[in-house]
Symmetry: C2
Subunit: 655 residues, 2 copies
């Protein structure tokens, strides 16, 4: 059995390096890595079609390490295989010395997998558990759309599989017949605190998978032949039927050395004084397994694919033309339309113009108007119904982005709150994805606060002032005020390579823009120029402020109204506007605090020019009410409240 | 079968009212309600031990409607039974007229279940799907601790059961042997957009439940006898073994009227012009079922329990005394300790002082130091290991709070991001719960950004300026700078009835306070009084700023250092401090934007007194580094950076 003895040799060698690098780092998870020694060996040396010299070739098979903390064992293999990564400004083969720099500030050998730090072998930043299988599914969706035969392996910890998102992904893969995905459950029996639950045993995991129709192989995760056979079965299973397939591997945490199995040493590197003993024990294990290396026993299959170049998108029509083409000329003429409906029109037009665009929705396409894309015969193959599982949808969208697509994922803005962890990890990944959250703010009315996005501006704004590795804002946060703006911003999002979040509203609102108005990430629009008071607002509230302008004028206040539809925005321009209005500023928004008004407060307070800013936002938990107006009254945000607040602000100033 | 014919009579009557009230409201989900007509009838008229006159008696059996949108059918039963709710300022029996006010602004008959709006029959605000079963589990945990026989029924939609959190709760109930919980899966075959997935059929659901050892009854959800028998089996199953039990009900969406089954009418009330036809069809259905009501056929069992009064907590010892009692006198003497470690000491001392305190953790007790509670023999019965499933943990904590306990749930601050939806719903619920997020900010160092809480201040700050129904801040956000502060704030959180989030840090830090320092929600501490520059900071960064003070003094800057450990805080006091320092303010924090500095910017910009605020916060996505200092340098937040920023700020001001 020379395959076996060579595989054991490599498994021991990788385990040793995995131990050494974590001891050198003074932190990390060598026992988790050891449990994966054989799985990683068989995958990376004998099964995955990958090219160590070109790890960024996304036509190659991919490995998503969902249990990201186990990464040192993969780094060990990468050092041995010379997988290329970015060191300083250059890409070159990884060496043993490189991985001994694990977790150093100036090293791409990060504590958890992170492609954006210069390690393109990985497609996903992981470390917050339970997300990798969804990303793998998204990558497989992209490959299928490109008609390339790419397999996506995903290693999931048994303790990790307690995360509900894993089971959202399991269902998703079954629904979508994504046989190219090969989930591998690493059942090493221990989590951090304790043994895993009886609900996370290999037997329970197998039964859960079979409950939704998976073909399952349960293997000894330290038997190279069993692993290889199961992986071959996965390949053989990839027929047209798309039957889902998974491997459940029984493994040993701290495999190969007794000293790694004393108690549950999760996340504890070997102390320097036991390192030598650990390495000696690993050598003894190798000997007991008759391990010996022979070149040619293990062979990395060649990569046969390259990801196709994304086709050049055509120009999308103007909003007016798109509306007419959609048979909505009457709505256009009537001059009133909800931004969520405009999203549907935009998504459809964009889908026709750009073959890379993929749409996802979480069972609310009729509310978000993703249905305009889903129900178009020419586009429906690029629509993915994710059902009621927002976390999986977001991570799958990140996977689609990493597979070269331009994914637009929609649900109620409120329900994206559930996926904020996944969104943050997708941003860390450097993925290109667009989120569109509908029914934002209080204007939703009747359904109550469980359906209203209220802290979303604060959350996304927190990231907007943080640069990603490309030097861009980590995300753009967009709030269109009318259908033209929603349409224009969808096109702007598609043109930009990076994360965006756009919020849309439920009620129909009047048009305030036209086809000639440009909408840019980072942009804003001055709707009325005055000299007494700057009012900054966005989205639905632009209309409520508009209603207040006449009364303000009657009260002798000549107001400037700015639609600040993007965060971040042009800070100097907003400062200038504030100065032109004697430093008097009122902000108005339909959500909780730390939002748009907060963004303005930041720049005014930094400038120090003696500004007065009154922030109007939702200051009590809302409830159901029949109409948007009911809710505006309940939260003190009607046009009359705006007038009163403006008057009070001006009085204070003149007092 | 007079039980059957009476049950059918009631089911039809409730369905009719459910249809009428949604038509009157112009929105809502009558077809979902109709699918639950018999289940709600049997539960509320013949099985649950509840008292319509005292729905707030938490000793009664409870109903959690996880698929909150189906609530009109429950409101219909409440109107019929005269369940007490709050109308205006008074509590009185609900009438038919009351529920016809569904979704009105001044009505407690909210669009989704919401106890805080005056409807105490419900324990949980629901509507964001997938959360109810976890809350039910938390309520059952509380009842078990109180040794009362209370059953908790939870109705879950089939489409809803795609949410991973449902399966986290399913596992949790199995692990914890919570046989008092009775999950009822309402398999009506349709979600909003389409038929449910093959992964959400009754058969797949049954198989998933059996995979983790559930006893399952599959019933016709419109057969009263089958429902009653299954519920009786649940009761009979409640032996000491705690074997988990569930009901899978096959139901019909829009049961009882063809006009409700034309296509998938999810979330569409009957239009006024078909309402009459719908009611006629429902009457015909009643006739075809030989429905007739006879008093005495259905009987609500009496409530035998009342929730025991929470015992009066004893006074907790001082931090010094608690440290000595914990055998940590040497650490106390050494004068250095991480705030996460102090959390462990505090949680233990609090647990001994207050029998209502329950601790939860998500498989990281050794990192958060919840282990100090978990591993104490006197407390371990009140520790709940939630494993790697943060969403379930948070919702279960809300359930414990609703069951009269004082739950403290801990994990890495980063992993609470995954449960922000659940946290928001728990706040809407009005639950009393405390979250403690460890390893916050960049000082974590080696593990990288997947483990660092970075947007948490922005998110929680968004809620802190929003009042809940009790008129309090929706949440208090706390950042202790040393072990004394962490200890004191744990005690302050326990004394307060309402949600709190405290973040702790990984590294050991020097003591700056003592036993005499009071720590209050809303408080702050002036550490150094100067007159040139106000520096506001919190948590770990207090120490970094402290290091900068000498250099600042050498540069001629007499700085005031404020530990702003609470948000919200005393705004007037901070404004005064800013004024005493000539309006010059520097904020320093170890997280992303829109945080503490943003909170200060808000008040400075509102005051308009010509302040200058420079905000220092993390402005790039961090990566792994060996130490906290490495990360501070990487993100420009070292004490030297603080000095440079202060100098620049003062120069600008004097220029």
């Amino acid at each position: 059995m020379s395959f076996e003895s060579s595989a054991h040799t490599k498994a021991v060698a990788l385990t040793k390096l995995n131990v050494e690098m974590t001891t050198a780092a003074g932190s990390g998870h060598p026992t988790s890595g050891a449990s994966l020694a054989h799985i990683v060996t068989v995958l990376m040396y004998n099964h995955m079609r990958h090219d160590p010299g070109h790890p960024g070739n996304k036509g190659a098979d991919r490995l998503i390490l969902s249990e990201g903390h186990a990464v040192p064992i993969v780094y060990a293999a990468c050092a041995d295989l010379g997988v290329v990564a970015k060191y300083g400004d250059d890409y070159r083969s990884t060496t043993r010395d490189d991985v001994m720099q694990l977790r150093e500030m100036d090293s791409p050998i990060d504590g958890h997998p992170n492609p954006e730090e210069g390690f393109p072998f990985f497609d996903a930043a992981t470390g917050s558990l339970g997300q990798g299988l969804s990303v793998a599914a998204g990558i497989a969706e992209a490959a299928r759309l490109d008609n390339i035969d790419k397999r996506v392996f995903c290693i999931i910890g048994d303790g990790e599989s307690r995360e509900g998102q894993i089971w959202e992904a399991v269902d998703f893969i079954a629904d979508r017949k994504l046989a190219a995905v090969c989930p591998i459950f690493n059942c090493n029996k221990y989590a951090q605190s304790d043994a895993v639950s009886p609900c996370q045993t290999p037997e329970a995991t197998e039964a859960k998978l079979k409950a939704v129709g998976y073909e399952v192989r349960v293997v000894d995760g330290h038997n190279p032949t069993e692993i290889q056979n199961a992986l071959n079965d996965h390949t053989a299973n990839q027929t047209g039927e798309g039957k889902p397939f998974a491997i459940v591997a029984k493994t040993i945490k701290g495999w190969g050395a007794d000293v790694m199995q004393q108690g549950n040493l999760h996340g504890h590197p070997m102390k320097a004084n036991v390192l030598e003993q650990c390495l000696v024990e690993l050598d003894a294990t190798a000997k007991s397994l008759d391990a010996s290396w022979a070149d040619g026993d293990l062979n990395i299959p060649a990569v046969t694919n390259a990801l196709p170049e994304a086709p050049e998108p055509a120009n999308a029509p103007s909003f007016s033309d798109a509306m007419k083409a959609a048979g909505k000329g009457d709505v256009l003429a009537a001059g009133k339309m909800a931004t969520r409906k405009a999203y549907g029109v935009a998504l459809n037009a964009l889908g026709h113009a750009n073959p890379s665009v993929v749409a996802l929705d979480a069972d609310v396409q009729g509310s978000t108007f993703a249905s305009d894309f889903a129900k178009d015969e020419a586009l429906t193959d690029r629509f993915i119904e994710c059902r009621i599982a927002e976390q999986n949808m977001v991570s799958a969208a990140a996977g689609l982005g990493q597979g070269g697509k331009v994914p637009f994922a929609s649900t109620f803005g409120r329900f994206f709150v559930r996926a904020y962890d996944q969104i943050e990890m997708a941003m860390n990944t450097g993925a290109n994805f667009k989120l569109v959250g509908s029914h934002a703010g209080i204007s939703l009315g009747a359904d109550g606060p469980s359906q209203m996005a209220l802290p979303d501006i604060a959350f996304f704004r927190s990231f907007a002032k943080v640069n990603n590795q490309a030097g861009n804002p980590t995300i753009y946060l967009l709030q269109p005020a009318d259908a033209y703006a929603a349409y224009g911003l969808v096109m702007a999002m598609a043109d930009y390579e990076g994360p965006c979040y756009m919020r849309t509203h439920r009620p129909d609102v009047e048009f305030i823009y036209d086809d000639a108005t440009p909408f840019n990430l980072g942009g804003h629009e001055v709707l009325t120029e005055g000299r007494d008071l700057l009012i900054v607002t966005a989205g639905y509230m632009v209309h409520e402020v508009n209603k207040a302008l006449d009364d303000l004028e009657a009260a002798g206040i000549d107001a400037t109204l700015v639609d600040l539809y993007s965060i971040p925005f042009d800070e100097d321009a907003v400062l200038d506007l504030a100065q032109q209005n004697n430093g008097m500023v009122l902000s108005v928004e339909d959500n909780y605090g730390a939002g748009l008004g907060g963004a303005v407060a930041d720049i005014l307070a930094e400038d120090g020019g003696g500004f007065n800013l009154k922030q109007m936002h939702v200051r009590r938990i809302p409830k159901s009410g029949k109409s948007a107006d009911d809710l505006l009254a309940y939260t003190g945000l009607t046009s009359d409240d705006i007038v009163q607040n403006a008057l009070k602000l001006m009085e204070v100033a003149s007092a």
